[in-house]
């Protein structure tokens, strides 16, 4: 065997990996806008939510505002290469009000099992660094072809004795896009 084929193997593997990741980048198509589907979503508790435009750092996003511990469930049929995206913050109106922050977590259920795919704690009162939009994304590739529930949860901060005082969470422009 000559030298070339042996050296070609790792090179081919690296090239294939590069092609794979490169093919995942490019234009994104909107699959589901959770703001548009807000009326159909299951809200727990029903009265804790509202739609609003929220502006932080001069950027305004159509948002879902959730007060206290909440759960918002939306059904989506997921295509290939799909990602859930949202921006998190606390309502600027409560940034200077006493509180111990909000735990945001995004769950996915395929009807059989529930997985927490992202979790973030923001405490705008205690940590001024949290007074910005925090972008998060959840890769949904695993669920391609399936109908799933995207579950947006908020809870009192991560501490054991956390309270829901001034917990006004904002899910900014939550949507599912496909590359």
């Amino acid at each position: 065997m000559s030298r070339r084929p042996v050296y070609l193997l790792p090179a081919a593997l690296i090239a294939a990996a590069a092609l794979y990741f490169a093919s995942g980048r490019g234009d994104e198509a909107l699959v589901a806008d959770l703001i548009a589907q807000f009326d159909d979503a299951k809200k727990q508790p029903d009265t804790a939510f509202e739609r609003a435009d929220v502006t932080v750092d001069g950027v305004t996003k159509r948002s879902i505002v959730a007060r206290g511990p909440t759960r918002l469930t939306t059904h989506v049929t997921v295509p290939k290469h799909a990602v859930f995206r949202t921006s998190l913050t606390l309502d600027p109106g409560v940034w200077n009000e006493p509180g111990d922050g909000v735990l945001f977590f995004v769950g996915v259920s395929d009807g059989r099992s529930f997985q927490t795919r992202a979790s973030v704690t923001l405490d705008a009162f205690g940590r001024p660094a949290d007074r910005h939009w925090r972008d998060i994304s959840v890769n949904l590739e695993e669920f391609a072809g399936l109908t799933i529930s995207i579950v947006l949860n908020t809870r009192a901060g991560a501490a054991e004795n956390a309270t829901a005082q001034n917990d006004v969470a904002v899910w900014g422009a939550p949507m599912i896009v496909a590359r």
């Binding site: 042996v6 049929t77 795919r117 391609a144 529930s149």
Partner: protein, 605 residues
């Protein structure tokens, strides 16, 4: 007895396979078809093509029953075996035993290429075949066929390493695909590349100092490969997966537990059982070997009687303990301790280069593959640790044979005899997977609660238990008239007729003596403008049916045998429905995410 050097590769392979098959026969003979155990019940099922894709992006078990691990090749192997064998447990277990024999023969080859004499190489194949860690880890439990596949790839990687280690360093690239494959079967194979690196270092130290250059070249590649594999897994799972990281003290205990299990065959019920076994065996050996045979016959008989008495519970009662002092496990542990200590001692004091090399190879493999078990200690996962233990034992036999001088021809037969307690212990372990074994019945109860289990199997499990409790042998799962996947619970329509909703796919396994099967289908939404199409494939035939009204329509499928029917010991019928729907999509306030097809009834089987 001396074993003649087998010169041709083909002859050695044939003899190694025969030796390994004889060992497997001793351990598993008469108890091959042990049926299903625990996780087998949900892993043996048809796998949807969406799941085949999904396992490359997340957990290996889309049912959500198992903890999240990234094992896509295992998931594909499970899909392939169900396609080939269905629920034919006899065939599935036969595959396990054949695979184990193949691994054992490859271990013989591994030793031969390491320079071991033919007899020692064959002894290695024998020891692998009868080692008591394997029934649980890769033979008797069908879910652990993933371990069997992993063992095959790891042994193949070791053989490849032997082939490339004296060639230019670029040939070592051939190890990478095997390491990746092993890792995608099961994560503990992450240790394969570090172990190959350690073996190369060992070779540089003991055999050929030019190997150090290769070590320097391998080090960054191995580091990069490990980081890539672990990073890839983390990216795919969204977490590291597994059972979490234990505290330091627990990790240390778990690490030693793995070594004890592989090298000393502990845990016995108490370490004293192994010590008692060791004392009994050594004393018997000394009694037989010393002085004139006539006088020592009596001593030997007394020792034999003592071993028998100590293996009953009678003396234990006097000592206030609830177990016999000598058990098969203890005897086997004693044999292993005696062989390892004596072999190592002889090899070290006489500076026997070849046996030391083999023993150290075994030790490196044992220690390396045991390292991940500091995170979680599970006895059913010690298949790769046991591979190292077998090489260590084979090295000991080689040392004893080399040192024995004039009587070296007796070493191999004695070693085979001494390994019989291991085989008997392994046989006991394999018997623990018999359909009516207490452990199997207790996990059957847990399995019956899993959603992924077909209703027919769920109904069969209590009957199986009843028969076991009555002392009768239970029927095989392969004898069930029909087992179905993709059908939901029975409902009744307004007309009182029972039906079941289908998913988008239905798979049925029917007894091989069935000649035809008739189905009834109905769609509450079908119309001329929105028909529902049903495709049924049974045997080599495919039939189609179009529902364009809400009435029941009937279809009879003739079943014909073939190679796959024989392999599966069942006819497989696949039904696909288009279009299907998801209730949660039709009505966003409905939480039902299942795919629903049509109403289904089996009319005649």
């Amino acid at each position: 007895m001396t074993v003649p050097r087998v010169h041709t590769a083909r002859a050695f392979t044939a003899v190694a396979v025969i030796v390994a098959a004889a060992g497997a026969l001793l351990v598993y003979g008469g108890q091959i078809d042990t049926g299903l155990y625990y996780d087998d019940y949900h892993f043996l099922r048809p796998v949807h093509e969406l799941e085949l894709r999904r396992v490359w992006f997340g957990s290996w078990d889309p049912t959500g029953i198992e903890s999240p691990f990234f094992r896509p090749i295992t998931a594909w192997l499970f899909a392939l075996r169900f396609w080939a064998f269905g629920l034919n447990t006899l065939a599935l277990h036969a595959v396990s035993i054949a695979g184990h024999v193949l691994c054992a023969a490859c271990v013989g080859w591994l030793l031969r290429r390491e320079g071991a004499p033919t007899g020692v190489s064959l002894m290695g194949a024998w020891l692998y075949a009868v080692h008591p860690l394997f029934p649980y880890a890769q033979v008797s439990w069908l879910t652990n066929q993933m371990h069997l596949a992993e063992s095959l790839v790891v042994i193949l990687a070791l053989l490849t390493w032997q082939s490339v280690r004296d060639r230019p360093a670029r040939w070592s690239v051939a190890l990478l695909p095997l390491a990746v494959t092993a890792f995608l079967i099961k994560e503990d194979a992450v240790m394969l590349l570090p172990i190959l690196l350690a073996l190369t270092m060992q070779r540089g130290w003991l055999v050929d100092s030019t190997q150090w250059k290769r070590v320097v070249m391998m080090l960054p590649v191995v580091t990069l490969a490990l980081a890539t594999l672990i990073g890839f897994r983390h990216q795919r799972l969204g977490q590291l997966g597994g059972y979490g990281v234990p505290g330091l003290e627990q990790a240390q205990a778990q690490f030693w537990k793995g070594l004890d299990a592989a090298l000393l065959l502990w845990p016995t019920r108490t370490p004293w059982q192994a010590v008692a076994g060791l004392i009994a065996i050594s004393a018997l050996a000394v009694a037989l070997a010393r002085g004139n045979w006539k006088g020592n016959k009596v001593v030997a008989l007394i020792w034999c009687a003592a071993i028998v008495i100590l293996s009953t519970r009678l003396p234990a009662l006097f000592l206030g303990i609830a177990y016999p002092l000598i058990a098969w496990q203890g005897i086997a542990g004693g044999v292993v301790i005696a062989a390892t200590l004596t072999g190592a001692g002889v090899a070290a004091t006489r500076q026997l280069h070849q046996p030391v090399l083999i023993m150290m190879t075994g030790l490196v493999i044992t220690l390396g593959f045991n390292l991940p078990f500091a995170l979680v200690s599970k006895r059913e996962q010690y298949h790769l640790v046991a591979l190292g233990a077998v090489l260590l034992l084979a090295g000991s036999v080689d040392a004893l044979r080399t040192a024995a001088g004039r009587v070296s021809r007796y070493v191999l037969p004695v070693a085979v005899l001494a390994s019989l307690p291991l085989a008997l212990l392994a046989r006991t372990q394999a018997a623990a997977f018999q359909p009516c074994a207490p452990g199997v019945l207790s996990t059957d109860g847990e399995a019956s609660g899993w959603w992924a289990l077909p209703g027919e199997i769920r109904a069969w499990l209590p009957q199986k238990k009843q028969r076991c409790e009555a002392g009768l042998s239970p029927s095989s799962i392969a004898e069930l008239p029909v087992v179905s996947w993709g059908l939901y619970d029975e409902e009744r329509g307004a007309d009182g007729e029972p039906y079941r909703w289908t998913s988008d796919r239905v798979v049925l396994l029917l007894r091989p003596d069935a000649r035809s099967v008739a189905f009834a289908f109905r769609s509450p939404d079908a119309s001329r403008s929105a028909p529902v199409r049903i495709r049924v494939r049974g045997g080599s035939r495919t039939a189609e049916l179009t529902l364009d009204s809400i009435d029941w329509q009937y279809m009879t499928v003739r079943l014909s045998g073939g190679a796959l029917t024989t392999l599966r010991s069942a006819h497989r019928v696949d039904v696909s429905i288009t279009p299907w729907f998801v209730p949660a999509v039709r009505d966003p306030r409905n939480a039902d995410l299942r795919r629903l097809g049509v109403h289904f009834r089996m009319v005649e089987n």
